[in-house]
């Protein structure tokens, strides 16, 4: 590999990193939103992402079984179905495991979250089996951006799909938070839950909707993961969840742009580490970031210092 080849290798890894980072970013949003509004880490969120991937797979197989084989239409329907059903899971998790503990001691919902995570993993393991579930590649093909010394920089259609979908969702979501009544209520709850209720905001409903939206975004990430890697199992939520959580902390927990930025950075770090050092240690690299950020930059890149939270 010559000097040019090295640049191309880096470019390829960069593209791969952005695609992976988009997936982490979508999941990280869910962590950061819930933390912002009720100050807890929803450790079951990674498993909601996993459930989303399974629901997408089931929805796809069901559509194929009823004879729907036009892939773009099928994918669109799968997206809608998986988002809706996963949102229902997100809602149920909050309703069952967290709401009864509101006003309880601070660790209670965290413990409940870990319990919920185990419940979801076991539930999928038992109902869907422990084996890896494959999906044949649906979105194939792509573009060769550069070719030199026999090394081609590829931009695959699936990567384009992932980045575009993420981009569109982020725009829609930012608009929702900044410009709609629900978004305003969510920000009010995030800044002062009690005051929001003193202005007539139904805080329970707003919190529920926060979980619903976070779960729907995680479902999209689940579909992307399924399409990108082609295999899923009941355990993918754990590793992806902890990485997305790391992304949220890196970006600044509670900050929405921070979650997206953190996702992209973690995706990039993981990919580049795998490319240049060792693929076995890619998770170690990602989690070392978590430790380093917590020690040296606890508020994250775009996070606010705690002083502002009165």
């Amino acid at each position: 590999m010559g000097e040019r080849g090295r640049v191309e290798y880096f470019l390829q890894q960069f593209i791969n990193g952005i695609a992976l980072g988009s997936i982490y970013g979508l999941v990280a949003i869910g962590y950061t939103m819930v933390y912002g509004i009720i100050g807890m880490i929803n450790f079951a969120h990674g498993d909601v992402f996993m459930v989303g991937a399974f629901l997408a797979l089931i929805a796809f197989l069901a559509l194929v079984a009823i004879g729907l084989t036009a892939i773009p239409l099928a994918l669109f329907l799968v997206l809608l179905i998986a988002m809706a059903l996963t949102a229902l899971y997100g809602w149920a998790v909050e309703r069952i495991a967290y709401r009864p503990l509101r006003g309880s001691f601070r660790l209670a919902p965290l413990i409940s979250a870990i319990g919920m995570s185990i419940v979801l993993q076991n539930y999928i393991q038992i109902t869907q089996g422990a084996r890896v579930k494959p999906l044949p590649p649906l979105v194939t093909g792509g573009y060769t951006l550069l070719e030199h010394d026999g090394f081609a920089v590829q931009l695959s259609n699936i990567q384009i799909l992932i980045v575009l979908t993420t981009f569109v969702l982020m725009l829609a979501f930012s608009w929702l938070v900044a410009a709609t009544r629900l978004g305003r209520d969510m920000r009010a709850c995030e800044q002062d839950l009690k005051m929001a209720s003193l202005l007539g905001v139904d805080t329970d409903r707003t919190i529920s909707l926060t979980f619903v939206i976070g779960a729907a975004l995680a479902a999209v990430a689940g579909i992307m993961y399924l399409l990108y890697y082609g295999v899923i199992d009941f355990f993918i939520g754990f590793v992806a969840g902890v990485k997305a959580f790391t992304a949220a902390v890196l970006g600044g927990i509670g900050s929405l742009p921070g979650a997206m930025l953190g996702g992209l950075l973690i995706g990039m770090i993981e990919t580049l580490w795998s490319a240049y050092f060792s693929i076995e240690y890619k998770d170690v690299a990602a989690f070392s970031i978590l430790v380093l950020v917590l020690i040296f930059l606890p508020t994250g890149i775009l996070g606010r210092p705690d002083v502002e939270k009165v």
């Binding site: 002062d192 209720s197 003193l198 202005l199 905001v201 329970d204 502002e308 009165v310």
Partner: protein, 244 residues
């Protein structure tokens, strides 16, 4: 005489095992300014929050406009047109003045938003100037005006004001109290005011109550209470009534 707008009967409120209100009875009639005075920690703010159901009372009853609101959720109580400008103002720091006011108007479904906004801006012109500024960047006095303005955006039938004069310069206190008097006299708004500034509050109010350790120990017209030696002793600087 018609039934009071707000009637509180035997209300007991607890924080964990600690009793903060030990059986409070109190009434606010339509068109009145009623004030509640008392020392720090007597339970004044707890009573304000208990009226709004956060926390709800463990015992007793709260009737608003003929309806039992004791067990309603906070947002339902607020939607029955009680508004509170709470202790510490609680402005949303990372929202603009305008957004803070929008949140105040939510219970009206924004049907007369522009009109109400105009009214608040007329009452506190500085808020119009600060319209796009974040709440956290306002001065204490501006935040207090925003807090009251935000409460008014919901067109309340009863306005709860918790220590609106706290931490403000004397001139601002006069301005705020003047605004409160205008609201009551010109618009007939019913106001329940909690104050440590007993002198000002009792001069302004039609009636007043004194709260000591979670119990009402005295009540009467503002003038009557101002004359009571125990009130002067405890709340009016040893009986030396300040001039204003």
């Amino acid at each position: 005489m018609s039934a009071p707008l707000l009637s509180i009967r035997g209300v007991k409120t607890f924080y964990g095992n600690i009793m903060a209100l030990a059986g409070v009875d109190l009434e606010v009639r339509e068109g009145e300014i009623v004030t509640l005075i008392g020392a720090n920690g007597a339970g004044k703010s707890t009573l304000m929050m208990t009226i709004c159901g956060t926390p709800p009372p463990r015992e007793g009853q709260i009737i608003f406009d003929g309806r039992d609101i004791t067990r309603l959720a906070t947002h339902e109580i607020i939607r029955s047109r009680i508004a509170q400008a709470p202790e510490g103002r609680r402005i949303f720091p990372r929202m603009t003045v305008f957004e803070n006011l929008q949140l105040g108007a939510a219970v009206t479904e924004f049907v007369h938003f522009d009109e109400d906004l105009e009214r608040v801006f007329t009452m506190f012109p500085i808020l119009a100037k600060r319209r796009e500024q974040r709440g956290g960047t306002l001065s204490g006095g501006e935040q207090q005006m925003l807090s009251i303005g935000r409460a008014l955006m919901s067109r309340p039938r009863l306005l709860l004001l918790d220590e609106p004069s706290l931490g403000l310069a004397p001139l601002l206190v006069q301005q705020i109290f003047g605004a409160i008097r205008n609201l009551n006299e010109r618009e007939g708004l019913t106001i329940f005011l909690v104050e440590q500034n007993a002198h000002h509050a009792l001069k302004l109010a039609h009636r007043g109550y004194v709260l000591v350790n979670g119990l009402i120990t005295l009540q009467g017209t503002g003038r009557e209470l101002l004359e009571r030696p125990e009130v002067r002793e405890a709340y009016l600087d040893g009986g030396r009534v300040p001039r204003d």
